[in-house]
Amino acid sequence: MRYRCRIGARELELDVDADGGVRVDGAPLEADVARIGPLVWSVILAGRSHEIAVLEREPLRVRLDGRDVVVDVADERERAAIGRAGGDTRPYEVRAPMPGLIVAVHVREGEVVEAGGSVCTLEAMKMENELTVPRRGRVATLRAAAGAKVNGGDLLAVIAAE
């Protein structure tokens, strides 16, 4: 099985064959993987020891040797599907990270938001928080309304490919 992984600025291609052999960008590596607990793994790759703790899923965020990194993995079948659709077009949901008050909404439905742009401002835990989008897209759905109280997890907007 071939995987395409993006970790920070690094992209790499991972080939895993049926007996556990690994090739990274084509180069074979000796891999020894041990699961330490439900969320903790130890991987020894060609002698280098790495500890990986799963912090969050979807997107997968792990702590790798004491650094938080987001790992974006797609196997060749998923990639083929995305490739056919032309780039990563999966819609992205903006949800309230915690209960609070929407004090301002900065976009309208149909509007295009740049990567890092703010959809709305949520006041929670006595602070104002900008809820931003990770990549450029169009506001397909907008649920956030200024003055509304929201619960953690509430859907505020859906951002789709333009």
Partner: protein, 492 residues
Amino acid sequence: MFKKVLVANRGEIAVRIIRACRDLGVATVAVYSDADRGALHVRFADEAYRLGPAPSSESYLKVGAIVDVARRTGADAVHPGYGFLSENPHFADACAAAGVAFVGPPPTAMRALGEKTAARRLARDAGVPTVAGLMQATTEASQLRRDAAAIGLPVVLKAAAGGGGKGMRVVQDERELDGAIRNAMGEAASAFGDASLYLERYVAQARHIEVQFVADGRGGIAWLGERDCSLQRRHQKLIEESPGPSVDERLREQLGEAAVRLARASGYVNAGTAEFLVDVNGAFYFLEVNARLQVEHPVTEAVTGIDLVALQLRIAAGEPLPFTQDDVVRRGHAIECRISAEDPERGFVPSAGLIPFVREPAGPGIRVDSALYPGAVVPTEYDPLLAKLIAHGRDRAEAIARMRRALRETVVAGVRTTIPFHEFALAEPDFVRGAYDTEYVAAHWPSPTPAQPSDGVAAAAVVATLARRRHAEPSTTDASTWRRSAREDALR
């Protein structure tokens, strides 16, 4: 010494106080909201009583309910920790009325220091330098405009009734002044029920240096060195250290002496902290007195070897200071990093939720004061502080190295935390050479060159291919996972 102490707080500081009580052989009573039924402070205490639902106003701020529990359980003292009711003189009065000792300063001192311009006058009268500015608060915008003109811009508007950055505004440009006054008054009114403001000259590139002092109410007063708390974001401290890397022996003595003068002038008893700004020329100005235990007290404990919470309890129980100023010997250097449930990659937005896994650091020179445990749920209702890491070393370099090691060992899954910020700062050249001030965070974060993952990206990728399987059941060490999973993949 007391027989039984009620701890009127939650989180790491409640655990900290219970530990001090246990060391002294004093029984403890915890109180808790519905959000904290499973919390460590509830489990570590000898007794525990529910206060009410999660919101602070219905639980940790309920003066009557807390005093009631103290009376019912026969507690002879209440320790308020920091935040919540710790600087509320009505609570101290209520404790006194119920015949329960309040572990903190007398209400008179609390009141004298609680109104910020009153504290400024007290400092001035005691011969402690204050920043140029008003000595009386006002709700008159015209008065504030006149004073701003007299002092000259930039100025800081501050709420007279409170702290924590609420109702505070830096004004650089005259055109911003009217709007800033309006905003600050609104904020102060809603936060403290009092719109009064005062203003001070803004001190640029200042260091926030504070001095820990203790007074026993029998004339015994000592100061225990300083802490540099300049590393703040929006007046919220992130990293503190002692000694201050920019503080020389002469300044240290001056600050210590000023703190003692403030303690004497306010009739202070118990532990308190005098906060100062130090400008680029080394001149210092009184800011305010925090009339309670500080979050960052462990750095002073590490350097002096004195248990401040135990000392607070001793003083409140009427004991004299067990040492004189000359007995206070500082050793080495200590740094504290606050691990809060905030996402430093998104403007420190608070984060909440279940923590399925946590690993705290350990080993030489590391102390952890924490409320974390696997299965903990971080509620949204309270301050986001989860844990404090304290590194102590022979010198600043060793303390930094140990803190970096401790941060690397720490894992908090499920919520975002300030750990990535701390990892950045502890390796950032300006911080490492001690060249930072209150403007550091705004100037340095987010980092223009984000941390690069280690050479382990391929290892993380391997785990990612395994971790995305939903059927991967929890297991203990299982070196065969990899091969089995690879075979499964091949069969898909």
